[in-house]
C-alpha cells in the first residue's frame, strides 16, 4: 500500500498549502493540522500582528509555517500571497479560502446595510474568484486542490444571518462549478461546512445569546467542534491523496448538526 495513503501518517509530506484567514480560529486549526501532516504552510493574514505570532508559534512546534500579509478583498494581495508561496516553496498544492468578514448579529433582510453586504460578498465571493484565478496555474502544475468553507446556513437558509447564508450557499455551488471546470486539469475543489468554537463564534455567541444553546440542541454529538481536532483532519483529508477521487463535494464537520445532505 502506498504509505501516503495510511491514515494517521504524514499525509501532506512535501505539499505546500496556503490558508487565508490563517491567524486564528478555523484557519489556524486547519493550518496546524496540515502542518502536522508534513505540509509547508503559508498563513495569509490581513493583520501581520496576529499572523506573525501564529506562524512563529507553529514554527516553535517544529512546523514549516510562515505568514504573508493579505487582505482578501484585494486581488493584488491574493496574487501576492500566491506568488510569495510559490517563490518560497516552489509549488502550491492546496489553497484553503477560509477568510470572511464578521457576520455580525441577527439581521432582518430589510435592515441589512450596504457595507455589510459589500464586505460579505467581497470576502466570500470575490475573494474566491480572485484567489482561484491566482492559484489556478500552480494548482494545475501540482495536481492540487482548493478547499472552500461553506456552512449549513447556506444549505437550509438562516433566519438571523441572511447574507451569510447567501454567500455560503454561493461558495458551495462555486466549488461545484470549479470542480467541473478544473477536473480536466487534475484540480479538485471541495467544501467543508464546519461548526467549531472560534473567536468568530464567540463573537456570534455574544451577539446572539441563544445561539450556543440552539447549536448544542441540534447537534447529536452534543458539543461544538474544535478547529484543530475536529475540522483540521477534514482539511488534511481533502488536501491529501486520500481524497483524490473526490471533487465538488461538501464535508459537513458539525457533529451531525445538519443532516440534510
Amino acid at each position: 500500500m502506498n504509505p501516503g495513503l495510511v491514515p494517521g501518517g504524514r499525509l501532506l509530506e512535501g505539499r505546500v498549502v496556503l490558508v487565508t484567514g490563517g491567524a486564528s480560529g478555523l484557519g489556524l486549526g486547519m493550518a496546524t493540522a496540515m502542518a502536522a501532516h508534513g505540509a509547508a504552510v503559508v498563513l495569509a493574514c490581513r493583520r501581520s500582528e496576529t499572523g506573525e505570532p501564529a506562524a512563529a508559534g507553529l514554527r516553535e512546534a517544529g512546523h514549516d509555517v510562515r505568514c504573508v500579509r493579505c487582505d482578501v478583498t484585494s486581488a493584488d494581495d491574493l496574487r501576492t500571497a500566491v506568488d510569495a508561496t510559490v517563490t518560497a516553496h516552489g509549488r502550491l498544492d492546496c489553497m484553503v479560502h477560509n477568510a470572511i468578514a464578521p457576520t455580525g448579529g441577527p439581521t432582518r433582510i430589510q435592515d441589512v446595510a450596504q457595507d455589510h453586504w459589500d464586505a460579505m460578498v467581497a470576502t466570500a465571493i470575490r475573494a474566491t474568484f480572485e484567489g482561484a484565478r491566482a492559484a489556478h496555474p500552480h494548482l494545475r502544475e501540482a495536481g492540487g486542490s482548493m478547499i472552500l468553507m461553506t456552512s449549513s446556513a447556506g444549505m437550509e437558509g438562516s433566519a438571523s444571518l441572511p447574507v451569510y447564508a447567501m454567500v455560503k450557499a454561493a461558495q458551495r455551488t462555486l466549488a461545484k462549478g470549479l470542480a467541473a471546470e478544473w477536473g480536466a486539469d487534475g484540480i479538485r475543489v471541495n467544501c467543508i461546512a464546519p461548526v467549531a468554537d472560534t473567536p468568530a463564534m464567540e463573537r456570534a455567541y455574544d451577539e446572539n445569546p441563544v445561539l450556543q444553546e440552539r447549536l448544542l440542541e441540534r447537534t447529536p454529538l452534543g458539543r461544538i467542534g474544535d478547529p484543530l481536532g475536529d475540522v483540521g483532519p477534514a482539511a488534511v483529508f481533502l488536501a491529501s491523496d486520500m481524497a483524490r477521487f473526490m471533487t465538488g463535494q461538501t464535508l459537513c464537520v458539525d457533529g451531525g448538526g445538519f443532516l440534510g445532505l
Partner: protein, 230 residues
C-alpha cells in the same frame, strides 16, 4: 386557478416574456418591472443599483399590493471559464444578480399583501454548478438560500417564498443553455426542456394559490426531469 392575482414580475428577456404572457393568460393582473442593468450594480438599498425600489413602487401603484412577486435574475449570455473572466464580468454574472435578488426582497417587502408569496426563477445549475457558468450558478444558489432565509424570517408574518428551478435551456440564451445542462448523459425525461408559457407560468399560478399555502422556502424543479436529486 387564481383569477385576479396581482403579480409583480421583475426581469426581462424571453423567459420573462413567456411567464408574463402565461400569467396574463391565467387571469393574473401583471405589472412588469424591468431593472436598469447598465453598470453591473451591486446596490441593495433604495436609490442604488438597478432602480429596483423605484420600479417596484411604480408597479405597486399600477396593480395595488401584490399577491405574488416573481423575480427572474439576469444570467450571462455565454459561457466563459472562470480563469478567463474579467472581474467586471464576474460581478455581472455573480454578484450583481445576488444583489438584485436581495434588493427585490427588501424593496417589495413593505408592499406585500397578507399571505403574499415571493418566487425566484433560477436555472437548475444552482444545485449542480456548471462549467462556463460558475458565477451564475453560484449566484443562483445564493438566491435559493435567500428564499429559505426569507421564508424563515417572514413566515411568522404569513409570507411565503419559493424557488422555481428551470432548465438551463430556458434560463440561458438558447445555445448557451444546452451547454449548461447538469447531466451530459441524461436528457429530460419528458424529452424537452419546457416552455415558459405552458410549463412554468402554471407553476407560478399554483404557488400563488391558497392550495400551496403550507409550502415555503422550497424549490420546485421544473426541468422536464433532468435534476432528480435527492
Amino acid at each position: 386557478m387564481a383569477d385576479g392575482t396581482r403579480t409583480l414580475l421583475v426581469g426581462d428577456g424571453p423567459l420573462v416574456d413567456g411567464l408574463h404572457d402565461g400569467l396574463v393568460d391565467r387571469g393574473h393582473v401583471v405589472a412588469q418591472v424591468v431593472p436598469v442593468r447598465t453598470d453591473g450594480g451591486t446596490g441593495i438599498e433604495a436609490g442604488t443599483g438597478t432602480g429596483i425600489s423605484t420600479g417596484i413602487g411604480a408597479g405597486v401603484s399600477l396593480i395595488g399590493r401584490p399577491d405574488l412577486v416573481v423575480h427572474v435574475p439576469p444570467v450571462p449570455a455565454s459561457p466563459v471559464p472562470l480563469v478567463d473572466q474579467t472581474t467586471q464580468r464576474w460581478v455581472e454574472a455573480c454578484e450583481a444578480p445576488m444583489a438584485e435578488a436581495f434588493a427585490v426582497a427588501r424593496a417589495c417587502r413593505p408592499h406585500l399583501s397578507d399571505r403574499a408569496r415571493l418566487v425566484w426563477v433560477v436555472p437548475t445549475v444552482a444545485m449542480g454548478g456548471a462549467a462556463g457558468f460558475v458565477g451564475s450558478a453560484a449566484a443562483s444558489e445564493g438566491i435559493r438560500a435567500l428564499a429559505k432565509s426569507a421564508a424563515r424570517q417572514w413566515g411568522p408574518e404569513g409570507l411565503t417564498t419559493a424557488v422555481l428551478a428551470v432548465a438551463p435551456e430556458l434560463a440561458f440564451p438558447s445555445d448557451a443553455g444546452a451547454g449548461a445542462r447538469i447531466s451530459a448523459t441524461a436528457g429530460p425525461a419528458l424529452g424537452r426542456p419546457g416552455d415558459a408559457f405552458g410549463d412554468i407560468a402554471p407553476l407560478l399560478d399554483l404557488l400563488a394559490d391558497p392550495a400551496a399555502r403550507f409550502m415555503t422556502g422550497a424549490t420546485l424543479v421544473a426541468d422536464g426531469g433532468v435534476w432528480m436529486a435527492p
